[in-house]
Each structure stands twice: as structure tokens, then as C-alpha cells.
Point group: C2
Chain length 130, copies 2
């Protein structure tokens, strides 16, 4: 099956270990629009502790309406990681983000209630998939 030759390079297929990031270091990763405009930065991921899948990327989005930063959960499927830019790309305009479900920094919705996630999924359900 696999040929782990000491001399040749080991190919692990689609999931190269080069792409691993520590969960305590995801904060600060940039989020861009497809045209390259920086929309915000990652605050944290919401991870399913049973399946081990990232469900949402919570992005800090500043300066909106003169308020402090707001936190926008983005469904994982709407994001694409761009290796060249070293950040995530999301096909959203500022207007779409401003109308999206969000909460104030240093607060948290009740993620233990599935209704909050459903609300986020419903909003982004009609938006283009990356």
C-alpha cells in the first residue's frame, strides 16, 4: 500500500500536515472578499467536539456603525483558505455582512441552543458557496 520510503518524500494526499494550525493560534487570521478587500480577522472557530469538524469561523468585523467590533459567525462551507494570501476568502459584501447575524465583542450567543446556529445557516443558505 503506502510506500514510506526513507529516501523519497511522503505524500499524504489531500491533507498535507503543512496545513495544520494550533487552535490557540487561529485568532488574527485575515478574512478577505474575493476581490482582496480585508473584511476582518478570525476570533475563534466553533468546533464540533464530537465529530472534530469546524462548523463556524467567528470573524471580528470592526467599525460598523461606529460601534465596537462585532463578531460574525460564518459557516465553514462558505469559506475557502487561500494559501497565497494566508487567509480565508468569503464571497460576501460588507452590506451582506452588516445584515448578517452578529453579536457584540465580549458577549456570546447561546451556542448550546441549536437555534442560534440554525439562524446563521438560514441567513447564509442563499448566499454563494465558495
Amino acid at each position: 500500500m503506502t510506500n514510506n520510503t526513507t529516501n523519497g518524500s511522503i505524500t499524504t494526499g489531500m491533507t498535507d500536515k503543512h496545513d495544520l494550525i494550533s487552535s490557540d493560534k487561529v485568532e488574527g487570521t485575515s478574512v478577505y472578499s474575493p476581490s482582496g478587500e480585508k473584511l476582518g480577522t478570525v476570533k475563534y472557530f466553533m468546533v464540533d467536539k464530537i465529530s472534530g469538524d469546524v462548523a463556524y469561523v467567528v470573524m471580528s468585523f470592526g467599525g460598523f456603525l461606529g460601534m465596537g467590533n462585532s463578531y460574525h459567525p460564518l459557516p465553514w462551507k462558505n469559506l475557502h483558505y487561500d494559501k497565497d494570501r494566508g487567509g480565508y476568502i468569503v464571497a460576501l459584501t460588507r452590506e451582506q455582512l452588516e445584515a448578517a447575524p452578529a453579536y457584540a465583542e465580549d458577549t456570546s450567543p447561546d451556542w448550546t441552543n441549536s437555534q442560534y446556529g440554525s439562524q446563521v445557516d438560514t441567513y447564509y443558505g442563499d448566499l454563494p458557496k465558495m
Copy 2:
């Protein structure tokens, strides 16, 4: 006094949103042996930033050989989340953990090199899957 059945319960399939945890709050989650012995606590997850899958759970494992804490990366597939205990179960003995790939606290292996992950995978490859 929760009544989640106002209009019938919402079933989201295997991935219930109740199981979400913020990536900045995974630290401290307990890791147990199948018999219920506490082996250590989670320090962080190693997440594939392209696929959004957790690849390894890095567990802090104390008191081994009188040294400080050591960090043990455990492949995700070897762990099982136990809702009742609120922690992960791994079918490993202390002896198996002591012989496993590990690094000292406040250090990090070169995760950008796929060889380190391969070394971990190889060690656990022969151990029972949960």
C-alpha cells in the same frame, strides 16, 4: 425548566449544535482512559485550516519521570467524546502514553513538516481505535 418542544423538537442529525465548543475554550477538557482514570487535559487541537478537520488533540500529561508536563499529540480518530463525563476517552495505558511521541511544555515540534505528524500516526497506527 427547559421546554425544547414548543413546535416539535428540531433534529439536526448527527451534528447537533449543542456539541459546539469555541476553539479558545478547548483547553482544560479532561482526557480519560476507558476505565475512567484521568490521563491528562487538552492543551489545544491541531486543526487543518484547509479542510476544517481536527487532526490531533494535544494532551498535557503531567508528572512523568518527575519532569514538567509533556504534550502528547493524539490522532483524532483514537479519541471518543463522552458526553456524560464531558471529556475524551482514549484506549491507552500510561505506559503506552509514556512511550509515545511527546514534547516539553512551551515547546513545539515543527508541525509545518509532515514528518512529525507521520511519526505520531505511525506510533498510534497499531493501537486500538475507539
